[in-house]
Structure formats: structure tokens, C-alpha cells
Symmetry: C2
Subunit: 267 residues, 2 copies
């Protein structure tokens, strides 16, 4: 079958989900992750080979579905997002774990790895519904800001969130040496001794027993986690502001609830 004009938004939504799942399958292979969403990662269940190839299969299907919708502009939006995501992954691989990473640099990383796909996913619907440039730009901005908020919440949760709950699964970013916003804040605000601690753990990868607990204490004492969550709230509010051009109704309400749901994960 070729052409789904009437239900294009559904097909594009599915193709975004396929693209996203493909990147998760490949990411877990690249990062040698054992767990995904609290369960065994696909690569642990079915192997790295299947994860690479099924990821490629999903990308191929996603591409085919997008083409079937027959909107060149939607294809342009989604193919640019796809290229940005892949470029971001390659750049991250090449970049050393660098504790001099700034807030702006961090934003560029999470834009590539998270917010670009959110933005593209949101932009294509008004595009294929011919809603005009203003709504299209607003939907894109909504997705971008929501993407930032989502990733900041994720980064805070990786250290237990604002209210530290050590029962949760924390510390992945710490052990992988990822420089996320909580760490950037804690470094800026820390003593020379604290800075040396972060550098040893994240840049040198020299992590000892108790270091994660100490990291979480620093993140809490400096307000780094709370401020990261506050920035997520700011981006969430900005996402909701972007919706002002859309008429009130259940669709707009659902988008607002998506923002609340995203922030509530950390509260």
C-alpha cells in the first residue's frame, strides 16, 4: 500500500516511535547496557546482533512509513531530526568526558539526543494538517522545550531526583562519566576538593566504593539537583506557553498533561 493521507498523523507518530526504539536498541549495544526501563535490555535477551539488525529494520520500516504519508516537508523535518540524532551520538562518542562542559554545551548535547526528535514529532502534525507557519513553529517549540524538560528530569532521576530516594536505580550516568546538568551545577558551586572529586570520578573513571553516595550528597548540598529540577519546570512552563496559539480543547489539554506527567516523574 502506498499513501495514508487520511491517517498520516498516526503513521508519522508510529514512525517516530520506531525511530526512537531503533536508537534505544543501538544505544544499549553501544553503551553495553544491561537494563532498559527496569527490565533486561533486548541485547541481554536476544544478543547484540539481533539488537543491531532489528534496530536497522525498525529504521527501514520507519523510513518507509514516513514516505507512505507522502509529505515531503514532513520527510524533511523527520530526516533532519534523524541526522541530528545520529550526528550527536557520533560526536558524543568522540568527545572525552570533559568536566569543563558548560551549560550551553550540555544543552546542545540534549537537544541532539532528545529534544530534536520531540520537536520534529510535534512539528509534523500541524505541517501535514496545513495549519500554517505559526502553529507549526509553536508545535516545534513545544516539543523542543518538552524535550529539554524531559531530559533534565531524567538526568536528575539518575542521581535519585530532588528528594533523594536511594531505593531507586541510580548512578548510571555517574559510572559512565556523563557530564549532566546536576554535575555542571555541583562543579560550579563546589570547592577545589569537590572539583577534584568530580574530575577523578567522571573524567578519570576512578570510582571507589562510597563515591556515588558522596556525589549525591554534594549534588544535594549544593542545590544542584533541586536547581536542575527547577530548570526542567521552567522548560515545561515554556512548553505550555508555546501552546497559546492553539485553541482550547482536549488535544491542548492532553499536551499540557504530557508536560505535567514528565515533571511529576521527579516530584
Amino acid at each position: 500500500m502506498f499513501g495514508y493521507e487520511g491517517e498520516g498523523h498516526v503513521i508519522l507518530a508510529a514512525s517516530v516511535e520506531f525511530m526512537h526504539t531503533a536508537t534505544l536498541l543501538h544505544d544499549d549495544v553501544v553503551d553495553e547496557s544491561d537494563m532498559r526501563r527496569g527490565k533486561l535490555a533486548a541485547r541481554k535477551l536476544w544478543g547484540n546482533q539481533a539488537s543491531v539488525l532489528v534496530g536497522d529494520y525498525l529504521l527501514g520500516q520507519a523510513f518507509k512509513m514516513m514516505v507512505d504519508v507522502r509529505s515531503l516537508e514532513a520527510l524533511r523535518i523527520l530526516s533532519e531530526a534523524s541526522a541530528i540524532i545520529a550526528e550527536g551520538e557520533v560526536l558524543q562518542l568522540g568527545a572525552a568526558q570533559d568536566t569543563t562542559t558548560t551549560y550551553d554545551m550540555y544543552l546542545r548535547v540534549i537537544e541532539a539526543k532528545t529534544a530534536a526528535l520531540f520537536a520534529a514529532a510535534c512539528e509534523v502534525s500541524p505541517e501535514i494538517a496545513d495549519k500554517g507557519d505559526e502553529m507549526r513553529a509553536a508545535a516545534r517549540k513545544f516539543g523542543l522545550e518538552l524535550g529539554y524538560a524531559f531530559q533534565l528530569v531524567d538526568d536528575a532521576l539518575d542521581y535519585g531526583g530532588a528528594t533523594v530516594d536511594l531505593g531507586k536505580d541510580v548512578g548510571d550516568d555517574f559510572h559512565e562519566g556523563k557530564i549532566t546538568l546536576p554535575v555542571i551545577y555541583a562543579m560550579e558551586r563546589g570547592s577545589d576538593e569537590d572539583k577534584a572529586f568530580w574530575k577523578r570520578c567522571l573524567e578519570d573513571g576512578d570510582i571507589k566504593d562510597g563515591d556515588l553516595d558522596h556525589a549525591i550528597k554534594l549534588l544535594k548540598d549544593t542545590g544542584a539537583l533541586a536547581d536542575t529540577v527547577q530548570r526542567a519546570r521552567d522548560y515545561g512552563a515554556s512548553a505550555i506557553d508555546a501552546l497559546s496559539v492553539f485553541p482550547d480543547g482536549p488535544a491542548k489539554q492532553a499536551l499540557k498533561e504530557a508536560v505535567d506527567f514528565c515533571i511529576a516523574r521527579v516530584s
Copy 2:
């Protein structure tokens, strides 16, 4: 930049090359190959992580370049090929090494892994040049037949070709248990003892010193290699026949030479 109408064929050719390179990078990770085209594989030089991510990057760029050409029909042709290739890879992973594989089953495998991309690459040029259905179908058929010929030659070369030259790099398919046309012919024509030999080596993966030499002897004695090369010549002749609808000239001559070049690898 968005839109390369004048040079679309060049951009599409580059995007096919990117797609192809991406599959090679991923294949070498999946097959744990050490060599590619007689040199160290990318994954040995830069690691599996880089090979997975750079493959994804090339796919993303290929997709973006194809979209830039702004031909929905070319996108459909190439996205279907991309989906077929990926589906073929996944199916191959799941399929046991099965020595009851028939010629038809083998053709379907090589259509997915090789000929589909050749066919799509050939079909998009008359499509974007508005050459009509007849030329488009002819170009597609040329690509498909050339793809078969190419893969058959490749499979013969993996056992040293029709004139066995043991100085070449042979035996990869044998050690991976791949059921290729030379093996299918040799199985059909072999004694019960020969069949048991192939089954032990390719299905059970129980390969001893000297087995590859014995396999090559069987492939030669039964005429399996020579007949595989003859089938490649048949497909090559069929590819050239498909060109009859095109006017004579340097372009057509170059396509014919591509067929000759492909076959000459084994002669």
C-alpha cells in the same frame, strides 16, 4: 540546503553508497568480521561502538539526502529497498543454517541482501528523469539481474572461483555456515557421504583441518563452482538484454562494462 533538482541523480547515487556502507559497517559488527575488502574492518580499527553509530549516521545522512532530491517516488523505491535489506538481515539471523535450502530460497536471500539495492539504485535515475514506465522497469531489471550476477560471483570467489586459486582469501562463507549456490549444487550432486560432510560442516559447524580443501575439491569435481559462474554469466547476459530499450551511447556502454567487470572478477 533543500532541493538538488538538477543533480538529483548524483545525490541519489551518493545516498545509495551511504546506505550500502552503513550496512557493511553493521554487518561486520554482527558477523564479527575482522577483514573487509582485504583490509582491517572498521570495527577492528575503531571499535564496534563507532561502527554501529557511524552506520546510523550514514543512514541518517542518506535519508536526508534522498529527501533533498524531492522525488516521492524515488523515496518510495529506495525506502522499500532499505526495508527489504533490513528485513532480509533479520530473517537470516533467525534462520538456522539449513542444508535443505533450495535454489529459489537462495535467490530470495540474495535478492534481499544484494539485488534489491542494485535494482532500486538503477530504477531511481529514469524515475527522476521522467523517462517513463518502460525505461524505469528496464533499468530496475538491469539492476536486479546484475545484483544476482554480482552475488553469485562473490559466492564462487569465496571458494576460490571456477579456477581454484588457493592464494586468495577463501572460506569465510564455509566457516560461517552460509548456504550459497555452489554448496546447493554440490549437495544436489553429491553422494550420501558428501551430503553428510556438508551437513556436519555447515549445519553443525563442526569443521576440522582440511575440511575447506575437501569442500573446494567437491565443489570443483561436481562442477558446482563452474555452474555457479555460468549462472552468473546468464544473469549478466539478462542484465545486458534489459538495456535494449535504451539508446546506444556512452551511458549504455558503461552499464554493459559494469556487467563485464562484475563477471571478470571470477574469470
